[in-house]
């Protein structure tokens, strides 16, 4: 076994040194009737690298690779080009194989990176502070709702109809057990959401209003009125951003008054990865920092007065507070946060703004081309790099048929909202800098053929 350094001589010598006759002497505490005498039956034995590689490659080859085809999928996970240096750097053993930085003297690399990450995230989201990452956007969203309950001591959350249905699903699962009440309905196929209606639902039991920006259909709307209304009623505004690249072009939720901003950071540095690992972003106003979940890195000094960084405010965390912790989150997404931070450092403000501009321009170009397809309507007035088309028939079958033609042409609303028949013709299309004009043309002409 190439990963096990002990050889037979080592094992014998070590057993002998402790007076044990055989390895079984060390397993006497396992009741004999449950102890297995050899390898579990029916499972394969160890295999050389080459054989494992062959097996895994065979599985990988059964998937249609996004980068090999015209690709227009989004709905919470976006394909962007990640510079080669990002992956190079996160593979440095000192980052990849380091532990959580509980021993700060020998973990300044990870800690300084987290401090930089927190600052970058806070600035992008428009928040005073940000934490050192969450699992992903959907769990960050629930944690924010949970935090709003702790702050407001109220237990009713209003979820905008534009919130990602999976995020709603996660909140529903948790709320069933925590006793939070969630108010939510599926979106309508309209160019704008009913912000006034949402404001009208705010009352004295409302802990928070949760709104996605841009929303699940790609719509972009001003959150200021919502923030004022929520705060006037003693509730918080939680903004959810599933596409942080958008914030290179759009005003940040924090600027518009959101109290907590959470997001999915996958767009930068991380890649699609069939849904995970991703990295949850979490920022809030300074006054709420002690109710924040997750790890925080803070600046301090060492015994010689040099600047250094440590994990801090851990009195909020489970390993200190046990059942009184703000959250049970422990291991989070350190390496993905690193990837995000490196990518953001390579971009810088100039690069992020430029990237956002290219995304928007490509999306506008695609929208203009696709709405020319007979029978297709563009739902959105406003959007960033994602918009919704209304097709003349169920979009699920079109998506499948496009995939058969090696085009990954968006996400059908039928997949996201199986119970909402009136959404079935909706198709959410994302267009990033990775799409080419030829890709758009291929998508449009194939769509034309399928709808003809």
């Amino acid at each position: 076994m190439r990963y096990l350094p002990l050889n037979t001589q080592d094992r014998s010598a070590m057993l002998a040194s402790m007076g044990a006759a055989s390895i079984e002497d060390l397993f006497v505490d396992i009741p004999e009737e449950a102890r297995l005498s050899g390898p579990i039956h029916g499972l394969p034995m160890h295999a050389p690298e080459m054989a494992v590689e062959r097996h895994m490659k065979a599985l990988a080859s059964q998937n249609l690779v996004a980068g090999d085809v015209p690709f227009f999928m989004g709905a919470g996970a976006y394909r962007h080009h990640v510079p080669a240096s990002v992956d190079h750097l996160i593979q440095r053993g000192e980052f990849l194989t380091a532990y959580t930085p509980y021993q700060p003297e020998i973990a300044q690399g990870t800690l300084q990176m987290l401090f930089e990450f927190q600052t970058q995230v806070a600035r992008i989201l428009g928040c005073d502070v940000a934490n050192a990452s969450m699992y992903d956007g959907s769990t960050a969203c629930w944690e924010a709702i949970s935090m709003a309950r702790r702050i407001t001591k109220r237990a009713t959350a209003l979820l905008s109809s534009g919130l990602h249905p999976h995020y709603v699903g996660v909140a529903k699962t948790m709320a069933r057990f925590t006793g939070d009440a969630l108010v939510h309905q599926a979106p309508s196929l309209t160019a704008e959401t009913d912000i006034a209606g949402l404001i009208g639902q705010i009352d004295k039991n409302t802990s928070c209003v949760v709104v996605q920006y841009p929303d699940i259909l790609g719509r972009v709307e001003d959150l200021s009125a919502l923030a004022h209304a929520a705060q006037a009623a003693g509730a918080l505004l939680i903004a959810v951003v599933t596409e942080p690249v958008a914030l290179g072009a759009l005003r940040s939720p924090g600027e518009m008054g959101a109290d907590i901003v959470v997001g999915e950071g996958q767009s930068l540095g991380v890649g699609l990865q069939f849904g995970g690992p991703y990295v949850g972003l979490f920022g809030c106003k300074q006054k709420y920092v002690r109710q924040m979940p997750g790890r925080l890195c803070g600046e301090t000094v060492d015994a010689e007065g040099k600047r250094g960084f440590v994990l801090t405010l851990s009195t909020r965390e489970q390993h200190i507070r046990r059942e009184k912790a703000t959250s049970n989150i422990c291991t989070n997404s350190g390496l993905c946060a690193l990837a995000f931070s490196i990518h953001m450092t390579l971009l810088g403000e100039k690069g992020l703004r430029g990237l956002a501009q290219v995304n928007h321009a490509m999306a506008v170009t695609a929208a203009e081309r696709l709405e020319k397809v007979p029978g297709v309507t563009l739902l959105n007035e406003s959007f960033f790099n994602e918009f919704t088309l209304v097709l003349p028939k169920d979009a699920r079958s079109i998506v499948r048929a496009l995939a058969d033609r090696k085009i990954l042409g968006g996400v059908s609303l039928g997949r996201l909202y199986p119970d909402e028949a009136e959404l079935a013709n909706g198709l959410v299309v994302a267009v990033t800098e990775t799409a080419t004009v030829e890709d758009i043309e291929a998508f449009a002409t194939n769509l034309e053929e399928l709808l003809a």
Binding site: S17, D29, M56, D68, E94, V129, D302, R321, L338
Partner: protein
Amino acid sequence: LEEALIFEIGDSNRTGVDLPEAPRAASRLGGLERKSAIGLPGLSEQETVRHYTRLSRQNYAIDLGLFPLGSCTMKHNPRLNEKMARLPGFADIHPLQPIHTVQGALAVIDELGDWLVKLTGMAGVAMSPKAGAHGELCGILAIRSALEARGDKRSVILVPESAHGTNPATAAFVGYQVEDIPAKPDGRVDVDALKARLGPDVAGVMITNPNTCGLFERDLKIISDAVHEAGGFVYCDGANFNAVVGKVRPGDLGVDAMHINLHKTFSTPHGGGGPGSGPVVFSEALAPFAPLPFVERTEDGKLALIEEESMEDHHASSFGRMVAFHGQMGMFTRALTYILSHGADGLLQVAEDAVLNANYVLRSLEDVLDAPFAAAGPCMHEALFSDNGLAEGFSTLDIAKGLIDEGFHPMTVYFPLVVHGAMLVEPTETESKAALDQFIGALRSVALRAKQGDPSLHSAPHFAPRRRLDETLAARKPVLVWTEPVVEQAEAAE
């Protein structure tokens, strides 16, 4: 080797990327164009590579030396795993692609799940939890769902005092009352006390096995039977499964749910704090309540994804969705690669070598460090010591920081709480005898200094990138983001 912050060396007018030309297109941003500066510094590629390369060198890591962290299991991360996870067929596929375009990805989930089920002797598995603590949550939700399904409103979860901090946090997070169960002097759960507490209000117990003292809970089957008899469920914290993988199946001991930390047992990298991955295996009783989405093999041999759209008939009891997509795919490919590399025989060897290495450490140091449970028999994959016998004024913390100067990461300290000044050492199976001997020598030397009262230990570490850091200051006046120094602004304004 000091490295400035990116905010101090970068500027917002520099970038390390070149972008394609944007086609001309009218803005459709709904009047919400960003106007204010964000304040993001950029660096050229070389500056970026240098910044992070230099930063990385201030970290300790498994690639640099032994990492004796009890209960955290820092083992070698094979590079083949990294390579496989980066195959475009895994790394570059979207979570919502049509099912027939991701059969290989679903096969990874299915195949890994199958291994986990067979290695644990259970009936089903939930793959989506994002980390160990998230897996615990999943297990507790399944237990609560099962109880609710039979109309049984129980409110208490019993947790032994040696449990991981996440256990009570998890139970509390979903509204359970948590009650402690004491340990016996031999470091194991007090079975009688536990049995005495069982009753119609007890939803279940959360137990760690091997426990956080590094001991196998011999009576787990007896406990399980008693809990089941009382109508409750047994949750097993699987953080330490690597000690017994292939040697015993938790399912045979009556466990109903157990999460498995893929990075602990199956070598996915810790990454300086994640990403983790915490699949949960279930007994027959709990499997129907497993969360969405999951993978199922259909009659024609294809793999189906069960999610909201397709759960209706035979999966109606699922308690719902815990995360946006399918869980930590990138960790699944790594873990499956590791499992296939070892095979059933190699995994058995893993458990044996992990336990052998831990006992070797225990027996090599019990003459200089107090080992509270050593006399009673072997340990599992962790050797536990206490601060009993150190010189006046010398603590476990001094030993930990002293070990840094010897070139090692400290062991886990002050955990478990059942032992005073606990030091929990887990060498793992991927350490050679030579590495263990070196570590034992270093710890022996530091322990002797602490027993003899060497005052220089109080100011350790001396040879790390930083001396002891002021954690109190950090918590009292939290500085969580960088802000432009006021002085410099004043200068700039001149």
